[in-house]
C-alpha cells in the first residue's frame, strides 16, 4: 500500500521554476556550454587557499571540501544558472501536493567510480547518512525519512510540509547530499567516509596531506543529454587531471600565477587583484563570497534588548563598514535582504530597504535617551586572522562611539574567538562572515 501523499500531476515534474535570473553584478558568468572544439586533456592546477579537514561532504562544514568534492560526488537534484531546480542523478522528481514528500525516479545506468551501477539502495543509504549528518541534512525536519518504493523510485517523506527542502537538496555547496555506494555510507562513522567514490565527472585519486588532492577524469561518466546550464545538464571533464594544490600563503598563489606555475588561483587578495589584472596573460573573476554580519550576545548585556539591536541596525553606515573591510565597491554589494545578491531573483523583497544603511544615528540617540544610558561599556571581540572582520569591527567601533556608546575592542586568535562566543559574559558583539544559504530558513541566524 502506498503510504505516501498523492503527488501533484502538474507541478514539479522535472523542473521547478523559481524565477528567471539575470546577473548584473559584474561577476563571472555561470553559463555553461564548453567552447566548441575546446582542447581536451592535460592537467589543470588550482592554487587553493586552504586544505579541507575531511573529504566527506555530508560531515564537513568547510567550503574547501565541497569546492573539491562536488567534482567527485553528485546529488539527486541540482540547479541551473538561474537557480531553477533540475534533476541530476534523478530522472525526474515530484513534490507531493501537500508539500510533505518528494518522489525521485532514478536514472538508470549511472556508474560509480568503482564500476558498480547506482541503485535505489545506494540512494537510500546515502540520504539516510546525510539526514543524520551535521551538514544540510539537519535543516530538514527531524521526521524526515527516505524509503525505497521500487528499483528506480525513492521517496523522501518529510513528515510535514516543507517545500524549501527542494532548494536545500539542490544546493551543491557545503554539506550537499552526495550519493555514494551503500556500503560506504553504512560503514561511515562521525569522522566521515574513508573511501571517496561518487558518480561525478572526476574520480578521486589521491590526497597528500599539506600538498594536494588529485582528481582524474572518469572515463565512464554517465553524461546527461541536456545542454550544460549552471550546475545542471551535461557535465564533461575536459582535462585528464584536476589538481588542487594547497597554497595557504597568498603571495605564493599570486607569484605562482605570474610565473605560470598554476592555471587558476583561488582567493586572490583584493590588494593584489589590480596587479594581476594588469598582466595580459591573466584574467580576474569576481564571484559571491559571503556576507558580513554583526552577531549579538542576546543572553547577557546591552543587546539582549530588541530595541537596542534595532537602534544599532537602523543607525549604522553599512557602506563605510564594507569599505573598511573590502576597500572598493568592486568587492562588496549593499544588500538589505537576508539572501545574498546573487539569490535575489529567487527571493526578492523591498522589506527593510528603507531602514538599511541609513547612516542616521537618531534612532540610537532616542534609544539611549529612553534607557538613560550611563556609559555602560560594550565589548566587540574580533580577530586579525581575518582582516576583513577586524577592519569592519574597527569601523563599527568608531561609528558606535560617534553614537555616544562606550565601546572597546578585544582582539583574539580565531580559535579563542570561537570559544569566547560561547561565554555569555565575554562579549557584546562580534563581526563574522557567513556563507550563503540554500534558502532563507537555512541562514544560521534563523536557527
Amino acid at each position: 500500500m502506498q503510504k505516501f501523499p498523492r503527488f501533484a500531476l502538474v507541478t514539479m515534474i522535472g523542473t521547478v521554476l523559481l524565477s528567471a535570473c539575470g546577473n548584473d553584478s559584474g561577476d563571472t558568468e555561470s553559463s555553461a556550454e564548453p567552447t566548441e572544439g575546446a582542447t581536451t586533456g592535460g592537467e589543470l592546477k588550482v592554487a587553493y587557499s586552504a586544505q579541507p579537514p575531511i573529504l566527506d561532504v555530508h560531515e564537513s562544514s568547510a567550503i574547501a571540501t565541497s569546492d573539491m568534492m562536488r567534482h567527485v560526488y553528485e546529488s539527486l537534484v541540482t540547479v541551473d544558472s538561474s537557480y531553477n531546480i533540475e534533476p541530476m542523478l534523478a530522472e525526474s522528481y515530484e513534490l507531493s501536493e501537500d508539500g510533505t514528500a518528494i518522489e525521485f525516479v532514478l536514472r538508470e545506468d549511472v556508474l560509480f567510480h568503482n564500476g558498480e551501477t547506482m541503485t535505489a539502495e545506494d540512494v537510500v543509504a546515502s540520504m539516510e547518512k546525510w539526514l543524520d549528518s551535521p551538514g544540510n541534512g539537519n535543516k530538514l525536519p527531524d521526521t524526515a525519512t527516505i524509503e525505497q518504493i521500487d528499483d528506480k523510485t525513492v521517496v523522501l517523506d518529510l513528515g510535514e510540509p516543507m517545500a524549501t527542502a527542494l532548494p536545500i537538496l539542490a544546493f551543491n555547496s557545503v554539506g550537499f547530499p552526495a550519493i555514494m555506494p551503500a556500503e560506504l555510507a553504512e560503514e561511515a562513522d562521525g569522522t566521515g567516509v574513508k573511501e571517496y567514490i561518487g558518480t561525478g565527472p572526476f574520480k578521486f585519486d589521491e590526497w597528500i596531506q599539506d600538498q594536494h588532492i588529485k582528481l582524474l577524469k572518469f572515463e565512464d561518466y554517465a553524461i546527461r543529454d541536456e545542454p550544460a546550464d549552471g550546475l545542471a545538464g551535461a557535465r564533461e571533464a575536459l582535462v585528464d587531471e584536476l589538481l588542487f594544490e594547497f597554497i595557504l600563503d597568498s603571495s605564493t598563489r599570486v607569484s605562482g600565477m605570474q610565473s605560470r606555475q598554476f592555471d587558476v588561483a583561488h582567493a586572490v587578495p583584493f590588494d593584489n587583484a589590480d596587479q594581476l589584472e594588469s598582466d595580459p596573460n591573466l584574467t580576474n573573476h569576481t564571484y559571491p563570497g559571503a556576507y558580513l554580519t554583526i552577531h549579538f550576545n542576546k543572553r547577557e548585556g546591552f543587546f539582549t534588548e530588541q530595541d537596542a539591536r534595532q537602534a544599532l541596525a537602523t543607525s549604522i553606515d553599512s557602506e563605510a563598514i564594507l569599505t573598511g573591510a573590502y576597500a572598493s565597491d568592486d568587492y562588496y554589494v549593499l544588500n538589505h535582504n537576508i539572501m545574498m545578491y546573487h539569490q535575489l531573483e529567487q527571493w526578492p523583497s523591498d522589506v527593510g530597504q528603507d531602514v538599511y544603511n541609513t547612516n542616521d544615528s537618531s534612532n540610537m540617540d532616542d534609544y539611549l535617551s529612553d534607557i538613560g544610558y550611563d556609559g555602560e561599556e560594550i565589548t566587540i571581540i574580533t580577530t586579525r586572522d581575518y582582516e576583513d572582520q577586524y577592519n569592519g569591527s574597527v569601523v563599527l567601533q568608531q561609528q558606535m562611539e560617534q553614537m555616544g556608546l562606550n565601546v572597546k575592542i578585544e582582539v583574539y586568535d580565531w580559535p579563542t574567538l570561537l570559544e569566547m562566543n560561547q561565554d555569555e559574559n565575554a562579549y557584546d558583539i562580534f563581526v563574522l562572515a557567513n556563507v550563503s544559504a540554500a534558502e532563507p530558513g537555512s541562514n544560521v541566524f534563523m536557527n
Partner: protein, 68 residues
C-alpha cells in the same frame, strides 16, 4: 522560533514560500537576530588560456579546458 518563520518553513510549494517571504523579512527587521552589513565578493585569477571558467556556489571545473 516565531510562528512566521515556522509558517514559512511549512509552505507546501516554493511559490507559497516566496509569497510568505516578506513576512519573514518583517520579522527579521523587527527582531534583528543579527545585522547583515552587506555581501562581499572574492577574486579568482585564471591564465588567459583557460576556457569556460565558472563559479556557482563553488568552483565548476567540468567543462573547463586549457587552450594553450
Amino acid at each position: 522560533m516565531p510562528s512566521v518563520v515556522d509558517d514559512f518553513r511549512a509552505s507546501a510549494t516554493l511559490e507559497e514560500a516566496q509569497d510568505k517571504y516578506d513576512e519573514v523579512l518583517e520579522w527579521y527587521w523587527e527582531y534583528i537576530p543579527v545585522v547583515r552589513i552587506g555581501d562581499f565578493k572574492r577574486v579568482a585569477t585564471t591564465q588567459e588560456y583557460i576556457d569556460n571558467f565558472r563559479y556557482q556556489d563553488g568552483f565548476v571545473f567540468w567543462g573547463v579546458s586549457k587552450n594553450d
